[in-house]
């Protein structure tokens, strides 16, 4: 088994230190900040507002994502991130509860040191929880990077992304489920829900086996991530009750 030398001394399966804090902003209905190592993203949610946009289906709730980069104009890359985030969040929210409403999620990049999209997805999920938007389950995102020799490393930094990369994959898995219901009732077509994949975005060239290897590693890491997410979302007691404005 080849050992890859990572610049900051991590093993290939090791994630950077995670930090998550909720309820940071006062005007927003829900807010969260998520940082993986040096990458930090701030997300805010404004709860259901009346009306949907023109092209959206008025029989369901709609989610609107606004991506704010650190500097510079909004370009195609930001629009792509908005689209990916929107579709991911739409699949975890229960859209039938508040039809004909728009929930806005605003993502602000504070610092980008690799794995930016995954950080943003995690932050957006935490912000949705903070706002109290009804969701089916949480989503955890992980970035797997494929080096030239076929070795898979998790959670690359910006330097690693630029240097080592044959390809990389952003994967979003549903949260692991702790349930009081008996085991069998949560199976979807014979497999537990948490084995599914919500979103997968790949860049670069990779073979099918390499992609499956990424999936496997990502899935193992997602279990640890969802533990962390659960713990950090539980800790804070609701001290600030009125957020009417």
């Amino acid at each position: 088994m080849m050992e890859i030398d990572r610049a900051d001394g991590r093993t290939p399966n090791q994630l950077r230190p995670l930090a998550c804090s909720r309820n940071i902003l006062h005007r927003a209905h829900g807010s969260a900040s998520w940082s993986q190592g040096d990458t930090k993203v701030l997300a805010a949610v404004y709860g259901p507002k009346a009306g949907t946009k023109k092209n959206e289906n008025p029989e369901k709730a709609c989610i609107e994502v606004i991506w704010k980069p650190k500097t510079g104009q909004i370009g195609k890359l930001e629009k792509e991130y908005e689209m990916i985030l929107k579709r991911t969040l739409q699949s975890i929210c229960i859209l039938t509860i508040n039809p004909n409403t728009t929930t806005s999620v605003i993502v602000q990049v504070v610092h980008d040191d690799g794995a930016l999209l995954t950080c943003a997805i995690n932050a957006a999920c935490a912000a949705l929880v903070d706002a109290g938007i009804p969701i089916k389950h949480l989503a955890v995102a992980i970035c797997c990077c494929l080096a030239e020799d076929g070795y898979v490393i998790l959670d690359p930094t910006k330097l690693e992304e630029q240097q080592k990369m044959k390809g990389f994959a952003f994967l979003v898995f549903p949260n692991s489920i702790h349930s009081v219901l008996p085991e069998g009732s949560l199976l979807v077509e014979g497999e537990p829900v948490e084995h599914g994949i919500i979103t997968s975005v790949t860049h670069g060239l990779m073979s099918v086996e390499e992609y499956l290897k990424c999936l496997e590693r990502g899935h193992a890491a997602s279990a640890k991530l969802s533990d962390f997410l659960r713990r950090s979302l539980k800790l804070q007691l609701p001290s600030d009750s009125s957020k009417a404005k």
Binding site: G9, P17, R27, Y46, T71, I106, D113, R217, A220, K245
Partner: protein, 469 residues
């Protein structure tokens, strides 16, 4: 679009009356005096030139970046300064994404007038090649939370970001002196901007009831006020800009009173900004010392010589030129000739901390005199893993030590940290005969308890995930 208008927040008549009645008896709803400022918190980001300012509930982030561009034709030897304000929709439900509204443009213009037209930032020093290439400084202000008085908070964020920003150094070369080479921060120390004075914006709100005026209005007070005025002043007693756009009429005596108050507030806010920037610069210098202290540990072994002090001086200069981690690993094998050649193209660096650093290095040298008995300089050498761990744990130690106000205290603490480092470096060097990662793990557990837990968790995660897959 109609749906959006119905979502706009309106204050109720009861709340308005309550605020006005309270102000008539000099009471504000958050308990402040009418002339009192909210608490200002200044934080810094990872990079140079990024700031985060909190003024009560108002939250603003500022980022400064630079780029080489062609100058304007009528000012061929001046750089340019441009300010971009983003009223992010996360700050207020009424802020729309897309084109900035009129209040965003007004805010940008007030800050621009204060900084550029009062010549606070020296633009002539930004010229590289007259008529061809100048530095264009771009300030991005992101409003994250609208708790009232965005102008003042954004102004402070812009100033702090400008003071902590470092632009890359560039030299002219080539045959005709027309080639510009921009040096990356690892090679040459980036330079700070020249800021002559700090223009501080102070906002006043006027209410319809007689002569009531408050400083630093909150969001609720802004919804009730009849007019506002922003005065940009500095500690020299200059008034850089005044902005009163419409609203209620105010007597001349009230305006003069506002100007005096603004000067006083400007002094206290300038002091806070300077203190915050001092601590940031101290921390930055400490970060650079930490990096090359580990390099000293390795290099002394290889040169192995009797004369340690002059070599330490070379490494001090190397630290000033800010080596990257990769370069540090290569230092394991560096020869003396390379040291001298690198020391020749050194930048002046931080003059105030240079002396402190040499004293710190001498302290290090004396530590090594006791060291070699347990550390064989001719063994395999410190492998890069233990180097990284020692760096990481030293970094955590510095995070544990709160940023000192005096620079000297910081130096003493870093020497203590290095004293602890030396015996720990020795242990993994002798025990690590194979390149397994258990060596650095053991040293990590022994040195710092607070660094251990997150690392252990990650390693447990990694090992269990490896078992799982």
């Amino acid at each position: 679009m109609d749906a959006r208008l119905t979502n706009a927040w309106r204050m109720t008549v009861n709340e308005k009356k309550f605020i006005e009645t309270a102000l008539a008896s000099d009471l504000r709803i958050d308990g402040r005096n009418p002339l009192e400022y909210r608490k200002i918190t200044i934080k810094f980001g990872r990079e140079d030139g990024s700031s985060e300012v909190q003024l009560g509930q108002t939250h603003v982030m500022g980022f400064v970046t630079s780029q080489l561009v062609q100058p304007y034709r009528d000012r061929p030897n001046e750089g340019s300064l441009s300010i971009f304000t983003e009223f992010s929709p996360m700050a207020d439900p009424s802020f729309e994404p897309g084109r900035p509204g009129e209040s965003a443009v007004e805010l940008g213009r007030i800050i621009d007038r204060g900084l550029r037209e009062s010549r606070a930032v020296d633009t002539e020093s930004l010229c590289v090649l007259a008529g061809k290439l100048v530095w264009a400084i771009r300030i991005d202000l992101h409003i994250l939370d609208n708790g009232g008085n965005l102008v003042d908070a954004a102004n402070i964020a812009a100033l702090v970001a400008l003071l902590t920003f470092r632009r890359p150094e560039c030299t002219l070369g080539g045959e005709d002196g027309q080639q510009v080479m921009v040096h990356p921060p690892e090679v040459k120390e980036p330079l700070p901007l020249i800021v002559h004075h700090l223009p501080i914006a102070v906002t006043f709100a006027f209410f319809n009831s007689e002569h009531t005026m408050v400083v630093d209005p909150t969001h609720n007070e802004e919804a009730v006020m009849g007019g506002r005025m922003t005065v940009t002043a500095n500690t020299n007693g200059d008034i850089c800009a005044i902005q009163k756009a419409g609203g209620e009429g105010v007597t001349q005596s009230d305006i003069m009173r506002c100007l005096r108050l603004a000067s006083r507030n400007a002094e206290s806010i300038t002091k806070k900004i300077n203190d915050a920037v001092e601590t940031y610069n101290t921390e930055r210098a400490l970060r650079k010392i930490k990096r090359h202290s580990a390099s000293v540990a390795v290099d002394v072994s290889i040169s192995g010589g009797d004369v340690r002090e002059p070599e330490n001086k070379f490494f001090v200069h190397k630290g000033i030129s800010e080596l990257s981690r990769d370069q540090m690993e290569r230092l394991n094998l560096v020869s003396e000739e390379k040291c001298t050649s690198q020391s020749s193209d050194i930048n002046g660096g931080l003059s105030s901390s240079e002396q402190g650093r040499t004293s710190c290095q001498e302290g290090n040298a004396t530590n090594f005199l006791g060291g070699p008995s347990s550390w064989d300089p001719y063994s395999k050498g410190v492998d890069s893993d233990s180097l990284k761990v020692s760096l990481a744990s030293l970094g955590v130690k510095h995070a544990g030590i709160s940023a000192p106000d005096k620079h000297k205290r910081g130096e003493q603490k870093s020497t203590q940290a290095m004293e602890d480092k030396v015996p720990e470096d020795a242990k993994p060097a002798t025990s690590a005969t194979d390149t397994s990662r258990t060596g650095p793990q053991m040293s990590g557990e022994k040195t710092l308890k607070d660094a251990v837990k997150p690392k252990d968790k990650r390693r447990k995660r990694a090992s269990s995930s490896m078992n799982a897959s």
